[in-house]
Assembly symmetry: C2
Homo-oligomer: 207 residues x 2
Amino acid sequence: MGAVTEPDRSPKQDRSRATRQRLLEAAVACLADRGWTGSTVAVVAEHAGVSRGAAQHHFPTREDLFTASVEYVAEQRSAALRGLFPAEAAAPDRRAVVTALVDLYTGTLFRAALHLWVAASHEPQLGFRVVELEGRVGRETHRMAVELLGADESAPGVRETIQGFLDMARGLGLANLLTDDGARRERVVAQWTSVLDDVLGRNRRGP
Amino acid sequence: MGAVTEPDRSPKQDRSRATRQRLLEAAVACLADRGWTGSTVAVVAEHAGVSRGAAQHHFPTREDLFTASVEYVAEQRSAALRGLFPAEAAAPDRRAVVTALVDLYTGTLFRAALHLWVAASHEPQLGFRVVELEGRVGRETHRMAVELLGADESAPGVRETIQGFLDMARGLGLANLLTDDGARRERVVAQWTSVLDDVLGRNRRGP
C-alpha cells in the first residue's frame, strides 16, 4: 500500500524517516527520565543508536529535537485514542472516554511535556516555541474531547465545562508525578463522569 | 502584644526569626524565577542580605532550605485565605471562595512548588521530602476547601468532587505558567462554580 500512495519513496528515505522516529521517541523518554537539564542531543542520539551527526542533521538544535518530540508523541497518542473510539462506531461509554482522556496526562509523554514546560518558564529561547506547541496540542486535545464526549459546544457553559475537565486531567497528572495516585484518581474520575453526564446530558454521538 | 504572649523572647531571638523568614521568602522567589537548577543557598543568602554562614546555620542543606520555604509560604497563604473568609462571618459567596482557592495555584508560590516537584521527580534526595510536604500541604488545602465551600463530606461523592476541583485548580495553575491565562480561567471558574453549586447544594456554612 505504501508503494501505491507514496510511489517515489526510496529505501534511503525510509531509513531517514525511521531514524527520525527513533530520535523523537528516545527524546521523550529521555526528557521524562532525566528532565531538561539532563537531556542533551548527545544523550538522545546514544539512546536511539544514532550518530550525533545524524541527530544534528535531523534536528539542528536541542530545542528543535525536544519540542518536535513532544509534538510527535502527542500526535501518536491522539491518533491511538481516536482509534479506540472510532467515529463510525456507536456512542462510546462516557466513563471509558473520561478515563482515556485523563490517561493522556499520566505516563511518559506528560512527564516529558511537564519538564519542557517548566524549563521553558525560565529559558527564553525555549519559551516561545513551547507556547506555540502547547497551543497546538491543547486545541487538538480539546477538539478530540468534545468529539469523544459527544458534547454540544453551542449550548451555554459546555465549552468551559470541557476546558475545566481537561484542566482537571492535567492537575491529576501533576498529582501522579511523585507517587502512584491511581486509586484516588479512579474515584475522582468516577464522580466527575457523573457530573459531566449531568452537565453535558447523555451522549449524543452515534448513528 | 508580642511582649505579653512571648515574654521570654530576646531581641537576639527576634533577629534570628526575622533572618529565617527573609531566607524562606527569598528562597521561594528564587525557585519561582530560576528553577531548581539555578537555586542555591548562596544565591538565596545574597538575595536575603544574609551571610552564607548564617543561611547554613538556619538550613544545613539546600533541600532543607527549599522544602521549608515552600511549606512556610503555603502556610502563610492558607492563613491569609482563611483570614479573608473568617469562620464567624456569614456564609461567603461561593464564587469568591472558588476564585480565591484557584488563585492559590497561580503566582509565585505555585511556580516555586512546581519547580520543586519536578526536580524531585528525578532527584532522589529531594523526592521523599517533597512527597511528605505535598501530602501535608494537600491535606491542609483540602480541609480549607471543604470548610470554605461549606461542603458536607458525609454525602456521597462530595469528597471526590472537592478533590477533582482542587486538581482542576492545579491544572489551571499549570496552564498559567507560560502565558497569562486569566481571561479563560475566569470563564472556567464561573462555569465550575455553578457546577459545584449543583453538586454541593447551596452553602450550608454560617449562622
